[in-house]
């Protein structure tokens, strides 16, 4: 089904959400049709008869207002096109020209009042709207606002210039109304569902042009003006527009845009409102790019563009094995699956704009619920490694500021992190967007990981000196995940590379990787014994080593000599390991001039991980011993204290 039809269905299924703001008020509500949002600066409070009660300036957090719009007013740029109810001062204030000098100043108000009168005179009118109309007829709004000290006059009695209200001048302030009537709880005009309904019915009854809607296949009122502001409130790009006066987009057999395609007013309104709401609520935004996945019945979906850890509702176990991870993933997927019924329809849509005015759909897929979950699961169980770069909030410190701790987890990194690992953080926005887009089919369609991405990450990691230490550690585990995924998919053989050291692995690159890690360990150990801190030769020469392993290995071994001498018998275990691994490499492979495959990173990582694990254990044992000593001593003192 087409994207707009799916969105239309979603809107129909989510009718209950219309006009409901999220719990924190931050998320934009699903707008009723014929409505849009605006930031208001002033709130005018009236009573049921349309008499002025008071007014107030709005705080920054409460400015967002749902307002009814006409097709013209929603897309107005220059020219006069009043909104039906709430608008700027120059439209709603009859005494605007008394305070601001502007050519044709009166015309704005006249047009606005004509429009509002029509609504109030129709059978669909609403008492609150009539109250607003009755008040505005008095043409005393600015005077009232000045007497409330909300607007400021200069010495000539005009509105003072240079007084800011929100982002703009005070004379540009946007007004919203509140009508307080006895016995009614909701006084806000912009939150009243009955007012929405009144306007929708009125507006639909005024629609004349009836034509075939290409989405729903019915003859209904149609519209040529489609909503913008899809990705955010400042977004001017439109998904549907007609552009043939400049571009060669349809001319030929059609005379004008209305021959090329027609879309119903309700269809486009509902479709766009749903999309806007979905992007705001659960979309992934990356600069201009927005990607959103949703169930047409408003089901809860896993955040598929995050890393695996975000899937799980509960805290991870402190030490997890791959098997435990698989169980957890299964459980989470089943959990999400329970939310979806068998006929759940999932849509994934990516949006991007090449120019300011037009929005393009760059990715579109429809899947059934389980298909979607299975594909996501396939990605999150094959592109995995043990990561420890993720920061999570961990309580508060004594100053009340949030604390963070690093989380070690097994899982797939997010596309954002993969981009970072492959191109560093200086990559251009274009490249970042393109990379996320290239990763989408890998996640959703099970496509193979593009190799250039993997090799770029391997190259970046092969130069440890180019990165900060934490950056490099992070890039290393992500690269491992990428290599593992690539190898898994390659030629359908489904190779699985273990996350722990595989001592029987005979792969040349893997063994060379292990050798490098051992050399690094020896040098680090020697430096540690004398309290020195500097970069090891293994790290320094890593990139060279990748290209000319045999030649560079000679250099590394040469430089290792003094450190081995320094360590003496302490290095016995490490030298033994070195020979052992070296012996696993056949002579021809050892001396070959071929450069190393990406799997050397895996060998390097796994071997290094073993050393780090040993170090950690040693440290823990020492700590334990220390503790034991302390308690022993305390025990000795015990009798005296008594």
């Amino acid at each position: 089904m087409g994207w707009i039809h799916k969105l239309y269905d979603t809107y129909e299924n989510c009718q209950a959400e219309v006009g409901m703001a999220g719990p924190d008020g931050q998320v934009m509500p699903l707008l009723p049709i014929g409505h849009s949002t605006q930031n208001a600066q002033i709130e005018v409070i009236l009573n049921g008869e349309g008499n002025f009660r008071s007014a107030k300036v709005l705080d920054k957090e409460e400015t967002v207002t749902i307002i009814p719009v006409t097709e013209d007013s929603a897309t107005r740029s220059s020219g006069i096109a009043p909104h039906p109810l709430c608008d700027k001062l120059q439209y709603v204030a009859g005494d605007y020209i008394d305070y601001v000098t502007k050519k044709n100043g009166r015309e704005f108000f006249t047009k606005y009042m004509e429009q509002l009168e029509d609504w109030c005179g129709s059978v669909y009118s609403h008492p609150k709207v009539r109250a607003v109309f009755n008040y505005l007829k008095k043409e005393s709004l600015i005077g009232d606002l000045i007497s409330q000290k909300i607007l400021v006059c200069d010495d000539k009695g005009l509105l003072a210039k240079g007084v800011k209200m929100g982002a703009g001048e005070q004379s540009d302030a946007f007004i919203r109304f509140r009508v307080e009537t006895e016995g009614e709880e909701e006084s806000a005009v912009w939150l009243d569902p009955q007012v929405y309904e009144s306007y929708i019915n009125y507006y639909l009854s005024r629609q004349k042009e009836i034509d075939l809607c290409y989405v729903r296949g019915q003859t209904i009122p149609c519209s040529d003006k489609h909503p913008a502001k899809v990705r955010n409130t400042g977004d001017k790009s439109k998904l549907i527009s007609a552009n043939d006066t400049v571009g060669f987009t349809f001319r030929g057999r059609f005379n004008d845009k209305s021959q090329a395609v027609r879309v119903g007013y309700e269809t486009t309104q509902k479709g766009h409102n749903a999309l806007r709401w979905l992007i705001d609520r659960q979309g992934y935004k990356n600069g201009d790019q927005a990607i959103v996945a949703w169930g047409t019945k408003n089901q809860f979906l896993p955040p598929f563009l995050n890393d695996t850890e975000d899937f799980f509702p509960e805290e991870p176990p402190s030490v997890a094995t791959e098997k435990e991870f698989a169980q957890r993933l299964n459980k989470a997927i089943v959990g999400y699956g329970c939310e979806l019924d068998t006929k759940a329809e999932i849509v994934i849509m990516g949006l991007d704009a090449a120019t300011v005015g037009r929005l393009a759909i760059t990715y579109y897929r429809e899947l059934d619920g389980w298909d979607f979950l299975n594909r996501i699961k396939a990605w999150h169980s094959s592109c995995i490694w043990k990561h420890s770069y993720k920061k999570v909030p961990d309580g508060f410190n004594e100053k009340g500021k949030p604390n963070f701790k690093y989380l070690t987890f097994i899982g797939a990194p997010s596309p954002r992190e993969i981009t970072w690992a492959a191109y560093g953080d200086k990559a251009s926005d274009k490249l970042k967007k393109a990379t996320v887009e290239r990763l989408l089919p890998c996640i959703i369609d099970g496509a193979r990981l593009p190799y250039d991405l993997v090799s770029s990450a391997v190259n970046l990691v092969s130069n440890p000196l180019g990165l900060e230490n934490w950056e490099w550690e992070k890039a290393l585990t992500i690269t491992c995940a990428l290599i593992r995924k690539y190898r898994y998919d390659k030629s359908g053989k489904k190779e699985v590379w273990e996350m722990s050291l595989d001592e029987n692995q005979k792969d040349r690159s893997y063994l060379f990787g292990r050798l490098l890690a051992i050399a690094q360990q020896i040098e680090e150990y020697a430096l540690y014994t004398t309290g020195e801190k500097r970069v090891t030769n293994a790290e320094r020469l890593m990139h060279q080593f990748k290209i000319h392993p045999y030649k560079t290995w000679g250099i590394i071994i040469d430089k290792l000599r003094p450190y081995l001498d320094r360590l003496g018998s302490k290095a016995a275990f490490l030298t033994e390991l070195l020979t052992q691994v070296n012996a696993m490499l056949p002579f021809e492979e050892f001396t070959s001039r071929d450069k190393l495959q990406d799997s050397y990173i895996l060998g390097y990582y796994c071997q290094r991980e073993v050393f780090m694990e040993e170090r950690k254990q040693r440290r823990e044992e020492k700590q334990k011993k220390k503790l034991a000593n302390v308690t022993e001593r305390e025990n000795e003192h015990e009798p005296i204290d008594k």
């Binding site: 075939l212 998904l239 527009s241 571009g247 059609f254 090449a354 393009a360 759909i361």
Partner: protein
Amino acid sequence: MERENRVEFKVNGRYALFSDPINRVGGEKISYQVPTYQALKGILESVYWKPTLIWIIDEVRVMNLIKTQSQGIRPVNYSGGNTLSIYTYLTNVEYQVRAHFEWNLHRPNLEQDRNENKHYIIANRMIKCGGRRDIFLGTRECQGYVEPCRFGEGEGAYDHYGTLSFGLMFHGFDYPDETGKGKLVVRLWKAEMKDGYLKFIRPEECTVKRELSAMRPKKFDETNFSELAEL
């Protein structure tokens, strides 16, 4: 017409763009997931066509997984210069098509050309050699290639997939020289694919139609049409 003159062929290409009219008018083209009736008819007309006959597409089979790829494009403006757009193409497509021809009864002056065997044999020969004119999948920049095949042969990516509904889709245009009425009409239909097979309804079975404009059929007479005997 004595028998159903059925032809079967396969068409494939690296890219395809059967544009959805809703997005096309703005200039940011996006492809439908499956070819439209009119696109396939156009492909077959490029392979072989005479005003004597009308090609009717019966069925199409989608062989490869539906995958898309978006590309940044620099389309040309009327006023000169370029703009920027993003087009979304289908990639790596292969379709098996089954179609047949019927006489165009609105061309009585070509009655003597209604030789079933002749057209049938030429059509098959043209499929074998890849068509008379070049083939494109939807839009001009998507080159396609035609080969003979047995419809339903081989393994398709959607063989046991079940039904996939595409909603309301463009079906094709009713041109005046095939309907005998002096107007251009657009046809829409609800497309549904079963296990990779998409059975098209016949043009006259489409119920969702919209009249676009008046149009006169093209004339074929002695001035632009020659018969074999004259050569």
